[in-house]
Symmetry: C2
Subunit: 144 residues, 2 copies
């Protein structure tokens, strides 16, 4: 997503207001690589702004996602996670500690997709491809 300063301009030009709550969330999300849930972000935000509402965090996350500034991803772990990296990338998920890491993959568009009883699946118009690698991160590989 864009910088807090750029988001401030973007929000204003859309008739949206830039409140202290939103500014805080802009800062907490910018360059954030932890793929936080709404609750997790709320915890961090609360530490810096006691009293901020979980509802506001949800609201702002929804707004940002709607503007294309955030990607929301649903892994199996219950809550939805938010990713300020909206570029073309994929994810590695550690099955042990749930750490999520952004990864970049070559050759995705060249994958050969086929249905079970047909030569190919060209009839489906793919708009995006999401790849999730599940396994063990370096740290957890040792502690097996």
């Amino acid at each position: 997503m864009r910088t807090p300063a750029e988001l401030t301009t973007a929000f204003r030009s859309l008739g949206l207001k830039v409140t202290p709550q939103r500014q805080l969330l802009f800062r907490l999300l910018h360059d954030n690589t932890t793929h936080p849930t709404a609750e997790a972000l709320f915890e961090v935000a609360s530490a810096q702004m006691p009293g901020i509402s979980l509802r506001t965090v949800y609201q702002t996350l929804t707004d940002l996602a709607g503007m294309g500034e955030l990607q929301s991803i649903a892994f199996g772990g219950g809550a939805i996670r938010f990713d300020p990296n909206v570029g073309q990338h994929h994810h590695q998920v550690c099955v042990s500690c749930d750490e999520i890491t952004d990864v970049y993959v070559d050759g995705v568009d060249q994958l050969n997709v086929s249905l079970r009883n047909e030569p190919d699946a060209h009839s489906f118009a793919t708009a995006s491809t999401d790849i999730v690698f599940r396994g063990r991160c370096v740290r957890c590989a040792d502690t097996v």
Copy 2:
């Protein structure tokens, strides 16, 4: 997953009982390609066995998934979906009608994965790879 007959034997040999409810669910799930949610399966089951409990459906789905007879997959759509196809495959999801189709992909193991500031991501021990293609199915491509 295996056939209802095979599952019956498998359950018995594990000390688990084969009830009419379970037999019905075995039948409804075998060769089922609709990737149903627990609720969806409950609806179909209720039609054939009025009074069956949603709780029982959840219970049996959990059991089957634990035995490796079902794969549970979390797309963004809220409820978890179950897939009796436990072979190596991936999914196409129609963003318009939510239809999910199994697809087979070549070359997954040859994908070149890299981190942002490192040559590769070999430090991560990938155990499985899940690919989701999002787009429009044949039917929904027309009705744009």
